[in-house]
Symmetry: C2
Subunit: 138 residues, 2 copies
DNA sequence: CGTTGATGGTCAAGGATCGTGACTAAATTG
DNA sequence: CAATTTAGTCACGATCCTTGACCATCAACG
């Protein structure tokens, strides 16, 4: 099962980033997704991102650096807290998120069509339950 | 779905290596599994391992180095080809493989029990089909 | 045979990702 | 105002994978 999970993750990533590259986003890498996906319309604070993505503040910091260099996000001072900075998506960042969501939705649609909607729904339910159980080791 | 796959892989690995450590194998790391799992009773050649695991010869080489240093495998000259060396598991190596298989089987048993045998079987079938379809992008 | 191309394995260097510990600045608490 | 907590960064290292080149041996062909 571990091998299946690894192969699935790899194959999904390959298609997602290949299609993103075709659609004008050749420089985003897998780990950027963990930050971009959790930015709302008006951004979020780095610590909040770290909590939501389950990654360390350190990693989030470097990801934001990279995304800023690529023009996907900006750092803005937080008006409520002078220690904090809000990470805000640029237009380009929002475009990337929208395209990534569309590609993922398309891939899911393809799988649902392939297995049949019912089987696919059952698969996803079971998948979530297995992950939950494994993480709690119950 | 990609996130689920990643979380599953991570959680499975965590439990496997934690339990392996408890059972006398604290030094094996995830990537060692890709070699150990594909060694038969009487070993295999490095290039064969690279082909079966889908990894580069280079990586297999360093993994074998590490496993040899830890006492899990030996390199023996191949009697049929003086270029080649057979990678042969030691008793310790065989013990690790047996214990890893037992732990993985136990985890699967737990999930089958948790979901019900029928649902779990359907889940695994669908999982394999999704992975196959995704890798072929059909 | 001997030359030529393919194969088994290794050496060297580098990139990507994640983890840990320590540190500065600002907020919060008492 | 002093003590503690929180936001973010700096520095270092571990793990894993990739790429390109290299040498020794095998195999096939002239």
């Amino acid at each position: 099962m571990g091998m299946l999970a690894g192969q699935l993750m790899r194959a999904l990533q390959d298609e997602l980033f290949e299609r993103l590259a075709e659609q004008g986003h050749p420089d985003v890498r897998p780990r950027h997704g963990s930050v971009l996906a959790f930015l709302g319309r008006d951004g979020a604070r780095a610590t909040e991102l770290a909590a939501r993505t389950g990654q360390h503040k350190q990693i989030v910091g470097t990801i934001v650096d990279e995304l800023a260099a690529l023009g996907y996000v900006r750092r803005e001072p937080d008006p409520d807290d002078r220690r904090a900075k809000r990470v805000v998506p640029t237009d380009r960042g929002r475009d990337e998120v929208a395209k990534a969501r569309a590609i993922l939705a398309d891939m899911e649609r393809r799988h649902a069509e392939n297995l049949g909607a019912e089987r696919y729904a059952a698969f996803k339910d079971a998948f979530q339950e297995v992950v939950r159980a494994q993480r709690e080791r119950t």
